[in-house]
Amino acid sequence: MGLTPRPDHRVVEYNPSSQEGWVASRLDFLVNWGRANSLWPMPFGTACCAIEFMATAASRFDLARFGMERMSFSPRQADVLICAGRVPFKLAPVIRRIWQQMPQPKWAIAMGACASTGNIFDNYAVVQGIDTIIPVDVYVPGCPPRPEGLMYGIMMLQEKVMRERMSDVVIRNEMEPDPKSQLYIPAPTIDELSEPFGNSVHQTRSGL
């Protein structure tokens, strides 16, 4: 009776002269903005850094502010691998496989001194920095880093994500390790990366 007919929303009116309801942007800005603010972390916690990581995820520091509240314990639904803690050689093939299972685009954060360099564990059992196994985007120093430190690293990673360009053809290429040795950087480089520094200079390789 007195009802006005509903407007038909299936019809989209397009009036280029009115600028209402329209935003022009670069596509890669939009994509990067979406990616940077919904990084799903794959937590690889092996030591005390994982405790600080848990604190970062909990309510006081609240990783959810970065769109990261969804811990992806399956690598196949993860965007960023956060390696929190030292990695022994026995875990090297494990973290390598987890990294290979993650779909592109993917990033890695080495959280803490052990994951970044091996820290004081310059011994027979510990990998001297996970960058000898997988490519790392952000290194977070500290032993362990405070949650603020990790968040700063995450914000640096977000900045890195925002700077990516789709026209860059190599940026999303999967790094394939050498099929024979399974190393993805040359052996002399690994030896050089693992050179002792700091306190470990005074240790001798020969033992007795």
């Binding site: 050689f89 093939p93 399974q182």
Partner: protein, 233 residues
């Protein structure tokens, strides 16, 4: 309904005073030895090489060839009842002349006693010692760790292989004094060997839960498992 196991009551074999007492003013060396030491001397004679009391704890040095009999007696005899194997480990001294010691930490819950049994192995012959797995099932992983770190062969162990390092580890025994802290190979070589390991091939089928479902598996799979095949291979 009977209990599936005998419940151990600490101090139950001590008549009269079975209340635990905190030791005070314990001297570094000397003091009253564990009564088991005198019993061991009376029973085994020269196989008991030496008895020390250090910080109130009794160390008994035994002959390696008699170690199994001694520990079995300590476990079985009603006057000892060492029913708990706390640890099996080894000690190598910086002085290379010194023998390697294998150490068993034994505890008797009924008597509230602690005893440390040591056997010395000279270095110029194979490091072999009888396994106590037939007495204490908990010795399984403890002896594996000791083998992994020191290279001591526990004769009679059912499954003596590395437990901490991966099975293909070739650099030696890390806790030995002649082992360099950073290992024998270069970092790149260590990494290459570590990455070559299959992360899923570290456990035998028996250790995995699939062992429970063994009878339900297809025939061909059962045959492959019987042949000792490892997972992931």
């Amino acid at each position: 309904m009977t209990a599936p196991f005998d419940i151990a009551h600490a101090g139950s074999a001590n008549k009269g005073s079975d209340a635990p007492a905190t030791p005070r003013n314990v001297p570094n060396r000397g003091g009253a030895p564990n009564p088991s030491a005198a019993d061991l001397k009376a029973k085994f004679g020269t196989a008991i090489r030496r008895v020390d009391v250090v910080w109130g704890e009794t160390n008994v040095y035994v002959a390696p060839e008699a170690a199994l009999d001694i520990i079995r007696w300590l476990h079985d005899d009603a006057s000892q009842q060492y029913d708990y194997l706390v640890d099996v480990t080894a000690v190598e001294y910086r002085d290379l002349e010194q023998p390697i010691e294998v150490v068993w930490h034994l505890r008797s819950l009924p008597y509230r006693r602690f005893l440390r049994v040591k056997a010395q192995l000279t270095k110029n012959r194979p490091l072999e010692i009888p396994s106590v797995w037939s007495i204490y099932k908990s010795a399984d992983w403890l002896e594996r760790e000791c083998f992994d770190m020191f290279g001591i062969t526990f004769v009679g162990h059912p499954d003596l292989r590395r437990i901490l390092m991966w099975e293909q580890y070739r650099e030696g025994f890390p806790l030995r004094k002649d082992f360099p802290l950073r290992g024998r190979f270069s970092r790149a070589e260590q990494l290459r060997q570590a990455l070559a390991a299959n992360p899923e091939a570290r456990y035998s089928m028996e250790e995995l839960t699939i062992a429970d479902a063994f009878e339900d598996l297809p025939t061909d799979m059962r045959q492959r498992l019987r042949g000792g095949e490892r997972t992931g291979e």
